[in-house]
Point group: C2
Chain length 342, copies 2
């Protein structure tokens, strides 16, 4: 089969690789019909994080089950499925409490930007899409973000403690930040202030439910958010991960409030997290890598019910040969998020 | 009157200063009968934090009201009172929600290690001790830690989410750590694992309710705590503040658990907080400077009822002239906490 491979910073290739097969009774093979390029993929693409050259890439698979092992009970060949960005068992302490990202039997994908993907634990990982929606393209595009960014935005909103009537500030206008706006609206936030620097993305944020936007940078952005919230918000959703964004989130959080953070920490070692502000203002830092598997059923119900549609985060679509161009477009911010149809 | 003054690192003097007087209608003057030296005082004493030489010191006053301004309603001269380590108004948004340390009208003490202390907001700050207990020395010594360390230990336990039946780990065997053990026991924790390096202090921890102790250092301490908790505790109470202790707390926290931290952050800028572990394990960091004013009535009820006695943290008592010796004793760990009777 053909698959996307990381050849080094700035270089993604499409190569012929061995087609995966079921090797153990709990496994499945999924023919990938939809996947995506993730903002977190840009880190190795830019050489900002280490990754082995020659390794396969992609972690947001949706497709049709091709084959299953003897012990698989939840899906069968022909079923439409999606899967979160990590593989989980569904049975350990952490899966049971909804923290699938800490699964003691967890695994990562061996490249979902490919024609087929090897699922090492099918029952614990795959989420079945009901047959009646299995071939509706617009529904599938609205479901695809549940593999990562929509679940991550939801984790930010839950971690920040957003409830009906609240005022929430979302830091970051990438796909996760935009999904965090949707998630906050879904949880009933009355005011949602989206902070970012790209007009086209903030337009999406407004269409997703942001009631105000802040486009200033640095200290001015903090001042503007403070002004809009009369001294800071009780719920801040940090959706970037860079130390500067984390500290912005802390700065605009009201004393006693909560920063829900889901951006993969970046540069926090060098420039430091403002722990002293956290301490003196009793700000809670809650969140982490999002257990999107835990949220899939709830969010899917809303997508299928027509009340949730994160698909506008996909501003560009490519086929498998277009994956290198997809990385380039996201790297150069020509696209918010790239949909891949292998 | 006479008061303790910081003359520079390692140097505390007792000087004649002006006796304070009520200057505004909401103020009071308290004759200090009991106060203490705090672990946080050691930072300027050791030259590890900046403080103006010539400044007065001490922030844990208990005594008898000497005089009050015209608007003071909650106390009158002759009343026995104690006060938390910071002055609050009791009326602003943050005081109303129990976050008195973020009081918008807040103030700090101008030296409680003195014969008298000037209270700039009496109604919002002073906690009256019922008359029938006002002269019982052992009760007063049990109440004095409510001015700081007992409320701070309680804040650690609440921030870490300790509830009945839980297993909690307390990092640190200073006065705050010991009070955190008491607080966790008071909240019903079934197992309390105290971590520290001083046998005499861990003996106090056991008398306070610790069910196990960990005396190893560094990586060994983490391993031992992990072993005792079968992979990490859901509730970790960080009572030191040094970056190494914060990171130990993170390391022994179970994925999805909470670190309740109350130690004033120290050295976190240089050696860094392990944000990546927080992120990958979805560990919540909750806490900060303790709003001990919010906890005073509840904790006092237990002290007066005979079910709470943190006074064993005072292992040495001095008079005002003995304050310099009190700092020395705490600095050299000859005393856990020093009681001062001016």
């Amino acid at each position: 089969m053909r698959a996307a491979v990381f050849d080094g910073p700035g270089e993604i290739g499409i190569e012929e690789v061995q087609t995966p097969e079921v090797e153990a009774p709990e496994e499945a093979i999924v023919r990938v019909t939809h996947t995506a390029v993730c903002g977190s993929d840009l880190w190795f693409y830019r050489g900002e994080s280490d990754r082995e050259p020659g390794s396969r890439v992609g972690h947001e698979p949706m497709g049709v089950v091709e084959s299953v092992g003897a012990d698989v009970r939840s899906v069968e060949p022909g079923d439409r499925v999606l899967a979160p960005f990590s593989v989980s068992c569904g049975e350990c302490e952490f899966c049971r409490k909804g923290l699938h990202t800490s699964c003691v039997n967890g695994d990562s994908w061996k490249g979902a930007q490919a024609e087929y993907v090897h699922v090492t634990n099918a029952d614990g990982t795959l989420v079945r899409v009901p047959d009646r929606h299995a071939d509706d393209e617009s529904t599938l595009e609205a479901l695809l973000p549940l593999t990562d960014v929509m679940g991550t935005g939801h984790h930010a909103a839950l971690s920040a403690g957003v409830e009906a009537g609240d005022t929430a500030v979302v830091v970051g206008d990438g796909a996760v930040g935009l999904c965090a706006v949707l998630a906050a609206r879904r949880l009933g936030a009355e005011r949602i202030i989206a902070m970012g620097h790209h007009e086209d993305r903030l337009d999406i944020a407004e269409s997703f439910g942001a009631t105000e936007t802040v486009t200033e940078r640095g200290e001015q952005a903090v001042e503007r958010a403070q002004e809009l919230t009369y001294g800071g918000a009780n719920h801040v959703l940090e959706c970037v991960g860079a130390a500067s964004a984390m500290n912005t989130a802390i700065d605009i959080c009201r004393p006693g409030g909560t920063v829900g953070y889901v951006g993969v920490p970046y540069g926090v070692d060098e420039s430091g997290l403002d722990v002293f502000s956290l301490f003196s203002d009793n700000i809670t830092l809650q969140g982490g890598v999002a257990p999107v598997r835990a949220y899939a059923e709830d969010l899917m119900a809303d997508v299928l019910g027509g009340t949730l549609d994160p698909s506008p985060v996909f501003t560009k679509t490519v086929d498998l040969d277009g994956v290198p161009e997809g990385y380039r477009a996201m790297d150069e911010r020509d696209a918010v998020k790239v949909l891949v149809r292998p």
